[in-house]
Symmetry: C2
Subunit: 138 residues, 2 copies
DNA sequence: ACACTACTTTAGAATCATTATAAACTAATC
DNA sequence: GATTAGTTTATAATGATTCTAAAGTAGTGT
């Protein structure tokens, strides 16, 4: 009930009302040391286990979309049948394990800065991200 | 009717029967100077216009999936509501225009070789691809 | 040419993730 | 406490993809 106030403030200052559903989701997503990746379905199942009162699937979609719009989450598309959300909203690179579908952050120091030697007229670069697919060796 | 024989051979040698539907799709996809990106829906609409006899949507899905499995196409996921197929099956990088959703190949010389300075035990790298999101400047 | 078989195409049904709807609920403000 | 706008929810609708199973066709052998 105490460090909830941080989330309540965060939500209020973004123009989102601090409902108990949103606070619950905030705690699950942002009350951690490390950022992580999840699917809507992961989140739904976790909430069903962890949380006492049920949060409807529609609310989860609504909340995740508002959080994304506010910039608290980013969406990572790695293949058409799996869409992840990422609590690490900075530009960063990923390993994708194609055997397990696990998505793993690559640290900055593990990939040299990627520079693009071409620009299209009237366009500017928004982000540069590398996806490294990995698989079981041998 | 003459350079069809190339496709007929290609199909036969992959263990796919050269049906008129598959040949028609081959002509549309592979009888060009430049590789390109398309969605299933693009392809369906083009076939409806260009081709005299109608090819069913199920056949288009079937064919594209077999072609992908045989390595004649690759699938590019850029966001959850748009999945592209690419007739350029080599590892390569892309611009994605987030205003138009257009996907554009980046040439090798426009991106320095990306090296990954980290490896996970028991895993090897399958591919390394860069996605550069661009948007209207100003 | 004909028959046989395995593969392929097809219309339509089924699936499933996501989005829309609209009624009940709740947070904010006065 | 009343009012209002924003939110949640169950449920329905949507739409892309996959499934089904019947009809059609290519390959092979005779
Ligand atoms: Mn895929
Ligand atoms: Mn998206
Ligand atoms: Zn990440
Ligand atoms: Zn490409």
């Amino acid at each position: 009930m105490n460090n909830n106030s941080i989330f309540i403030e965060k939500l209020r200052s973004s123009g989102l009302r601090p409902t108990k559903q949103r606070i619950e989701i905030c705690k699950l997503l942002f009350d951690r040391k490390k950022t992580f990746h999840f699917t809507i379905n992961d989140l739904f199942k976790t909430l069903k286990k962890m949380s006492s009162k049920k949060i409807s699937l529609a609310t989860i979609y609504n909340t995740i979309h508002s959080f994304k719009k506010k910039g608290y989450l980013k969406e990572i598309s790695v293949n058409k049948d799996k869409s992840y959300f990422d609590t690490n909203t900075s530009d960063h690179h990923h390993f994708l394990d194609i055997n397990t579908n696990e998505l793993i952050d690559l640290k900055k120091e593990h990939v040299d800065k990627v520079t693009i030697k071409k620009n299209l007229p009237g366009k500017k670069i928004n982000s540069i991200e590398v996806l490294v697919k990995i698989e079981n060796s041998n």
